[in-house]
């Protein structure tokens, strides 16, 4: 291509190059976001598991029944 006098039309390659760059960066940013979201879900679930079990309701005594 270096022996020709007119500038060749290589714009298709240029567009492909810039599109590839933006796509790869977008996919990487999305992967960061998704991994963070999954970890947040895991953390919420673990926090839920760590919560102490709720106190059982007091049994109704005879005195309370009379009242």
């Amino acid at each position: 291509m270096f022996f020709q006098e007119i500038t060749p039309d290589t714009s298709g390659y240029m567009i492909a190059g810039y599109a590839t760059t933006f796509i790869i960066l977008a996919v990487y940013v999305a992967s960061l976001f998704l991994r963070q979201r999954n970890l947040k879900q895991d953390m919420d679930m673990l926090a839920e598991l760590e919560k102490p079990a709720e106190k059982p309701a007091k049994p109704v005594t005879k005195r309370a029944k009379k009242k």
Binding site: S11, M14, T20, L25, D42, M43
Partner: protein, 232 residues
């Protein structure tokens, strides 16, 4: 996980603006190269991404030394972040080079010293993650990873100097000339502006992604610790 710091939020926005500005300068402002045409414009992003990726690989080797001295897992998490972001940028470098080579060299790929050393460097760091996947003990994983990355760090200077040491068809546009090169060109004023702006933009984008990835690593560590606590 702590809330994202304001500085990082600002850096996210600045990075996006810089990326778009760098693309504008490269596509619109920089003049069309006479011999290659528009495909030469990928050069600005090709070198910009290569610059940060190779520095990232060298930085990874430095982090290896710091980890091996201190044995603090914090440095291991920072190293993983550096390797991951560098691998992403170097992948872009290799793909852009291949796209440029098709009209310039009439082939997508050739086993030229620069292309070969670049492909090996990328594969070394992809294998770094495979190595880590195979080790369960965090301390052992960090130690093996650090030693591997320290040795792997040699691939960055070898890749950089490949076009200056060996006979190659890859152009040496910055600080050097190569009689064997196919697709060489000299840069005019606007080309230089677009070039240096792209270097600056990708440096900022790298720092931004690196910071985000370190935070993700810290968060992963928190969740792992909670899982361990829950299992007892």
């Amino acid at each position: 996980m702590n809330q994202k710091p304001l500085a990082l939020k600002v850096l996210d926005i600045v990075s996006l603006i810089l990326l778009l500005a760098a693309a504008y300068l490269a596509i619109v402002v920089a003049p069309t190269e006479k011999v290659m045409g528009d495909v030469q414009r990928v050069f600005y992003f090709h070198v910009g991404t290569a610059w940060v990726a190779l520095i990232g690989f060298v930085f990874t080797a430095v982090l290896s030394v710091i980890y091996l001295i201190t044995k603090n897992l914090k440095w291991d998490r920072i190293q993983v972040a550096a390797v991951e972001v560098s691998v992403v940028f170097f992948l872009i470098t290799i793909i852009l080079g291949s796209i440029w080579a098709r009209p310039a060299w009439n082939t997508w790929w050739t086993w030229d010293p620069r292309l070969t050393t670049a492909a090996i460097a990328e594969l070394i760091y992809i294998a770094y993650f495979m190595l880590r996947q195979g080790i369960d003990d965090p301390d052992k994983r960090a130690r093996f990873g650090a030693v591997y990355a320290l040795i792997g760090g040699l691939s960055a200077p070898i890749t950089f100097f490949a076009i200056r040491l060996f006979r190659t068809i890859h152009p040496v546009v910055i600080a050097g000339a190569n009689a064997e090169a196919e697709g060489n060109f000299s840069m005019s004023g606007d080309m230089l502006s677009a070039f240096f702006f792209a270097l600056f933009a990708f440096t900022v984008i790298f720092i931004d992604l690196f910071w985000n990835r370190i935070r993700l690593g810290e968060f992963q560590n928190e969740v792992e610790e909670m899982k361990l606590k829950a299992s007892y």
